[in-house]
């Protein structure tokens, strides 16, 4: 694998290979010495044009546990805000000999531009671009589902027939996009539920069912309910009237949570707005995978860095 830019490009075999390697990485996490020598001498740059402490430290932990040298380049508040371009930044990293660049950027497509521009030779991992994709988040979500469903027998498995409901701001969510493509590739059955204002104007090409009614979507007791973060600024742009109405109509409140069977997983990419899209009881219940998602994130990102930076790099 040359770059990891989008789940849309991943084949089923590639996705399962990555998840299986993540299982190996997770096994390492359970040992006393959590560190592998695999990427010794390699340099990974975390290039963050947008604040995200959670994602950055997850990638940092992943790279360090593979013995890579890690440089954190927080472009926000540095020279970028003074007009240094993506190109200049990339060329700086190239000159410093970066082997891998983990990039978070507010503009959709920026990681692809970085990977295809010829400015750098490094492998590029998309750590979230605009409202486009966040592939490692979707991979860690799939990994988490697979582990909950199949436990130690997860290796080699897909998510065939697993019923997943994703709820919230689909329009602005890179997590939703990456999940839709990946979960479909892995054979899952995806339903998206949102206010019509927070869905793309024409999602007919998405491999997912679309609905506006959360209660109807939850009635058949799906295997997974994934709640997305709702940002307060959406209210001001008239996407919905106010937080009360949102939480009443599209929130996983206590009543809705109580109607779910105990086998339904409750997921959230974090950070959560407790009381808005998810009630505290659901978030803290044994059905909630929120903390597992964080732990699994490190394993999945180790797998991604391993595939990109160890040994022979593929062309694709």
């Amino acid at each position: 694998m040359r770059h990891l830019l989008a789940t849309r490009d991943l084949s089923r075999d590639e996705a399962i290979e990555l998840l299986d390697i993540a299982e190996d990485m997770a096994a390492v996490q359970e040992r006393e010495v959590k560190k592998l020598p695999t990427l010794r001498g390699k340099t990974v740059v975390n290039l963050f044009f947008e604040d995200s402490t959670r994602t950055r430290i997850s990638f940092e932990a992943a790279a360090k546990r593979l013995s890579a040298d890690v440089i954190n380049f927080s472009a926000k508040g540095s020279s970028v805000s003074k007009g240094e371009s993506l190109k200049d930044t990339a060329q700086t990293l190239q000159a410093m000999g970066a082997d891998g660049v983990v990039v978070r950027h507010p503009s959709s497509g920026a990681p692809l531009v970085l990977a295809t521009s010829g400015w750098i030779d490094a492998g590029v991992v998309n750590a979230g671009d605009g409202t486009h994709e966040h592939p490692t988040q979707a991979l860690l979500d799939a990994f988490t589902m697979r582990r909950r469903l199949h436990g130690a027998a997860s290796r080699g498995r897909d998510l065939d027939g697993v019923r997943i409901v994703i709820v919230g701001d689909i329009l602005h969510s890179r997590v939703a996009r990456s999940n839709v493509w990946l979960l479909d590739t892995l054979g899952a059955d995806v339903t998206l539920v949102a206010p019509p204002t927070l869905l793309p104007v024409d999602p007919s090409g998405w491999p997912a069912r679309i609905g506006y009614d959360l209660d109807a979507a939850l009635a058949p007791a799906p295997d997974v309910v994934m709640m997305l973060r709702v940002q307060a600024e959406r209210m001001h742009a008239a996407f919905f009237p106010n937080s009360r109405e949102y939480s009443r109509t599209w929130g996983l409140d206590d009543a809705r949570f109580d109607r779910l069977p105990p086998t339904t997983m409750v997921m959230h990419p974090g950070p959560m707005n407790r009381g808005l899209e998810i009630a505290a009881r659901a978030a803290d219940s044994p059905q909630s995978t929120v903390r597992e998602q964080v732990a699994n994130g490190v394993s999945v990102r180790m797998a991604a860095l391993y595939l990109l930076l160890s040994g022979e790099r593929g062309d694709a």
């Binding site: 371009s85 993506l86 959709s108 497509g109 531009v113 024409d202």
Partner: protein, 448 residues
């Protein structure tokens, strides 16, 4: 070169073959010409002669943005593309909202000598959409402005638009509207549809264009004014204009070459060369625009030539500037989109790229049929040339062309402006030479 040029064996737009003798700034003779002593002879066997092309929508960037283009380099690009007149949009710095700025632009064009530069005046002061610019002063200035536009921005305030439409009636002016409802396009990055949802780019919905055009044709009807719609880009806009014309409303419309050829799928590369406003639309829109140009619903092709420096395009999509250069490639693109498809013949090309744009802009001395006594504004085009459109074909200062590396038919071989050649053998002539020819042409035609 002498002041006499003999074009030997050209094919006229109607299909007949003829020789043209150019002398004293006019076409002195047309038909079978046995001999023209002392004339520079251009062998036009196999070439199509068109009246010099007229672009109603060019961004020359000077004054203010000379790193992108100047009047000199922009008109060199025009000449390379077979244009003999360009209407220069008002979004310069300072904005062309006073008589002084438009007169300066026109003067720069005359001195350079590659093409007639006809300035467009801003509708509102500083393009800010709040207060009418001095439309009358610009109209009465030496620049003789008749087209007014805030292009780049929409005159969104309906009351201001109404007043502008009314006011320019006093001097037979026209408002050229950049139809874009601003509130529906906040942060917009590409056509809104299935693809924008997948790419995660903020959508520019067709309705933001169509609703403004619908409003404006009704306003034009109400006040009895003339309206021109810039760069129409959607099938729905075509329907609105068709309806308005059937109703007798005095509206004209333009389409850009890129909206006749390119579709939004190119945006999936996130290559900012394809970022333009209005954005590239769906294949259905392209088909509707072609049909509308063929049936006259859309009156003209205008380039929206929009030069930008490299750094404005070599970056992430959101940060990139909107716009493409288009003067050098326009005729080849129209050839591919309209002529090769059988939708338009060469007489039709002359109509939509020369005659009608000159008429909409009330520009004398351009856009007249090739005939004895007509101004010597002539484009010679080789329709059989083929190959990749490459950077050598670009003659302006900027290289943000979406066609680089793409196969396009045809090539401009020569451009004659004011009776002298600005392009010969496909090569733009030297700036000093052309400036000298321009000076002597304006001194009453001391030729020889």
């Amino acid at each position: 070169m002498s002041g006499r040029i003999l074009v030997r064996g050209a094919t006229l737009p109607g299909g007949e073959r003829a020789d043209l003798l150019v002398e004293g700034g006019v076409i002195a003779e047309i038909g079978g010409i046995a001999d023209a002593p002392g004339a520079h002879v251009i062998d036009a066997d196999g070439l199509i002669a068109l009246p010099g092309l007229v672009d109603l929508h060019t961004h020359l960037r000077e004054p203010g943005y000379e790193q992108s283009e100047t009047v000199l380099t922009g008109t060199q690009a025009a000449a390379a593309g077979g244009y003999t007149a360009v209407f220069a949009m008002a979004n310069t710095f300072p904005v062309a909202d006073t008589a002084g700025v438009v007169e300066q632009e026109q003067r720069l064009g005359r001195t350079a000598g590659y093409a007639t530069v006809q300035p467009i005046g801003a509708v509102t002061v500083g393009l800010e959409g709040e207060q009418l610019a001095e439309l009358g002063a610009m109209a009465r200035s030496q620049a003789n402005v008749r087209v007014f536009s805030d292009d780049g921005f929409c005159v969104a305030d309906p009351q201001l638009m109404r007043r502008a439409l009314e006011y320019v009636k006093a001097f037979d002016g026209v408002i050229a509207q950049h139809a874009q409802e601003p509130r529906l396009t906040v942060g917009a990055q590409m056509n809104e549809g299935a693809l924008s949802g997948e790419l995660g780019l903020a959508g520019w919905p067709a309705v933001a264009e169509e609703s403004i055009i619908a409003r404006d044709v009704l306003l034009a009807e109400h006040v009895g004014s003339r309206l021109h719609v810039c760069h129409l880009s959607t099938a729905g806009s075509v329907e609105v204009v068709r309806w308005a014309k059937a109703r007798g409303i005095d509206v004209t419309a333009e389409v850009t070459p890129h909206h006749l050829l390119l579709t939004e799928e190119l945006v999936a590369t996130y290559d900012a060369r394809y970022k333009v406003n209005p954005p590239l639309r769906r294949a259905e829109d392209v088909q509707a625009l072609r049909a509308a140009l063929a049936d006259g619903t859309i009156d003209i092709v205008a380039t929206d030539h929009a030069p930008h420096p490299v750094e404005a395009k070599e970056c992430e999509w959101d940060a990139a500037a909107n716009g493409m250069v288009g003067l050098e490639s326009a005729l080849s693109v129209v050839h591919q989109a309209m002529v090769e498809t059988g939708l338009l013949d060469w007489a039709g090309v002359a109509r939509v790229m020369s005659e009608t744009p000159a008429r909409i802009g009330r520009l004398a001395g351009h856009g007249t049929a090739l005939a004895a006594g007509a101004p010597a504004e002539v484009t010679l085009y080789d329709p059989s040339a083929a190959g990749e459109f490459d950077v050598a074909r670009l003659a302006g200062r900027s290289a943000n062309s979406p066609y680089l590396g793409r196969r396009l038919p045809g090539r401009v071989v020569a451009t004659l402006h004011s009776g002298y050649a600005t392009v010969l053998d496909g090569v733009v002539r030297d700036a000093h030479e052309v400036a000298g020819l321009a000076a002597s042409a304006s001194n009453g035609g001391a030729r020889g």
